[in-house]
């Protein structure tokens, strides 16, 4: 039992910090740059990503292990997984709009952005690649989403501060954001070697 918990803990730390999906793996950069202009936005996006990521990895894990691996259809993985994600996103959008309009208003505008968020697809792939159990996949996807949100909120905080700063003309806008990301990535390099 205790080793199981230890494994889960390891998954959390490595997924959220050591192998941070944005800063160490360069996955999910588009929403990272696009949605980090304010802390409030970034939290909304983080919530939406977490929600879809967990759902998607559960569904794809089940499909994968009970249908596609037994039938030897591994090569259909890309198509099926992305189809599941696209459908899921749309379903979530429809259901939220009707049943929980408040939540829809809070994260609805981010949902369409999620279909093409490579982080989600990457997590479903990595989840089955690593051969995790269902519980581990759930924990893994939550921690990746946590790492994503942390990176997003950190950058949003920096960008809010950056507005006070005088930035050289040609560095205004995206260039300075990438420099900030570079410094964040250096900081996250410090986590490397934490999990053995």
């Amino acid at each position: 039992m205790s080793t199981e918990i230890l494994t889960l803990f390891k998954i959390i730390v490595s997924a959220a910090f050591v192998d941070n999906i944005i800063l160490a793996r360069y996955i999910g950069l588009c929403p990272y740059i696009g949605m980090s202009s304010s802390v409030a936005n970034s939290i909304g996006m983080g919530m939406a990503v977490t929600f879809v990521m967990v759902l998607a990895s559960i569904v794809t894990w089940v499909l994968w292990n009970f249908i596609f691996v037994p039938l030897g259809l591994e090569y259909l993985r890309i198509m099926v997984f992305i189809l599941v994600i696209a459908t899921l996103v749309q379903l979530v959008e429809i259901l939220l709009k009707k049943n929980v309009p408040n939540l829809y208003r809070a994260m609805g505008i981010y949902l369409p952005l999620i279909t093409t968020n490579c982080a989600i697809l990457a997590v479903t792939f990595l989840g089955v690649d690593y051969g995790y159990t269902l519980l581990q996949v759930v924990v893994y996807s939550i921690s990746v989403a946590l790492g994503f949100t942390v990176a997003l909120v950190l950058l949003a905080g920096i960008r809010e501060r950056l507005r006070l700063a005088r930035v050289p003309q040609f560095w205004q806008g995206y260039p300075i954001v990438f420099v900030a990301t570079c410094l964040l990535a250096i900081a996250f390099l410090g986590f490397k070697g934490l999990v053995k």
Binding site: L91, K97, L164, A165
Partner: protein, 274 residues
């Protein structure tokens, strides 16, 4: 066989997902006001956010429901507003066109400077320092946050006075500068000639006198002078009623600190120095 199984399987998945999506889309359909879509079509679609709503679709929703005025989109300008008011059946109703005005005259040589400031050249940053570098806690810092935020380059800092000047020809009344100013010195006013108090300080006469030569000292001479009774003193502030004011200019003459000014008189430029 190699081709049949995957084809059937993925086909079945596609069918299931397709049924699910279209069924749920119908079952849980939220009636969308067709007006919203029409409004959105009229709006510029730049999603710039100058209106303060989440994108053009967000604004379209608010305009259609009447929560936002038809002229809420500053970028679209009168053409879009007219189109929208026609759409909403509000034709002929007059919306107020607004412009930004600077309500402070405490520029160089007018307001007291208590310290030399050499920090980050931004009003927001300077305002974080207790008391800042000016004697008046409410006056313009002149570091130009409004200039930088203006999407239409309608504001510049006047070199002589060190205060921002709004060009009413370029200004669209989007209100970004009003939101940006940490001291709330900028305000949106109707685009027409008017008389207004160019000082937002609520301080007492002695404090104001010490800090600035053009501050309102609440002497209420203007209240007594106005032949129309358009000027009142409410909650420690001078209020000039635009309806009653006849723009006679008596108050401007009588004001001992010259803090009442005429706005929008010549070429729509705000005369900051009265």
């Amino acid at each position: 066989m190699n081709i049949l199984i995957p084809t059937v399987l993925v086909g079945a998945l596609g069918l299931a997902f397709g049924l699910m999506l279209s069924f749920l889309a119908k079952k849980f359909a939220v009636p969308v006001n067709p007006l919203v879509q029409e409004v959105e079509r009229v709006l510029p679609g730049a999603n710039c956010g100058a209106c303060g709503f989440p994108g053009c679709s967000g604004l379209a929703e608010k305009i259609a429901s009447g929560e936002a005025p038809v002229n809420a989109c500053p970028v679209g300008g009168p053409k879009v507003w007219a189109e929208l008011s026609r759409l909403l059946g509000q034709e002929g109703s007059s919306w107020e066109v607004k412009r930004a005005a600077v309500l402070c005259q405490g520029g160089k040589g007018v307001a007291q400077v208590v310290a030399e400031y050499s920090g980050v050249a931004s009003c927001k940053a300077a305002n974080l320092l207790p008391g800042s570098f000016k004697g008046c806690r409410f006056g313009c810092l002149g570091l130009g946050d409004c200039v930088r935020v203006c999407p239409f380059s309608a504001i510049h800092i006047d070199l002589e006075s060190g205060l921002p000047v709004v060009d009413w020809e370029k200004c669209t009344g989007c209100g970004k500068c009003v939101a940006e100013c940490p001291r709330k010195i900028l305000a949106l006013v109707p685009r027409k000639e008017q008389v207004t108090v160019a000082c937002v300080s609520p301080d007492s006469a002695r404090e104001v006198r010490k800090a600035c030569a053009r501050g309102c000292i609440k002497c209420q001479v203007c209240v007594r002078t106005c032949p129309e009774g358009a000027i009142t003193f409410e909650n420690g502030k001078i209020v000039i009623s635009r309806e009653k004011c006849t723009l006679c200019g008596l108050c401007i003459e009588k004001c001992p600190t010259h803090c009442i000014i005429r706005v929008g008189k010549t070429a729509a430029l705000l005369e900051v120095r009265g």
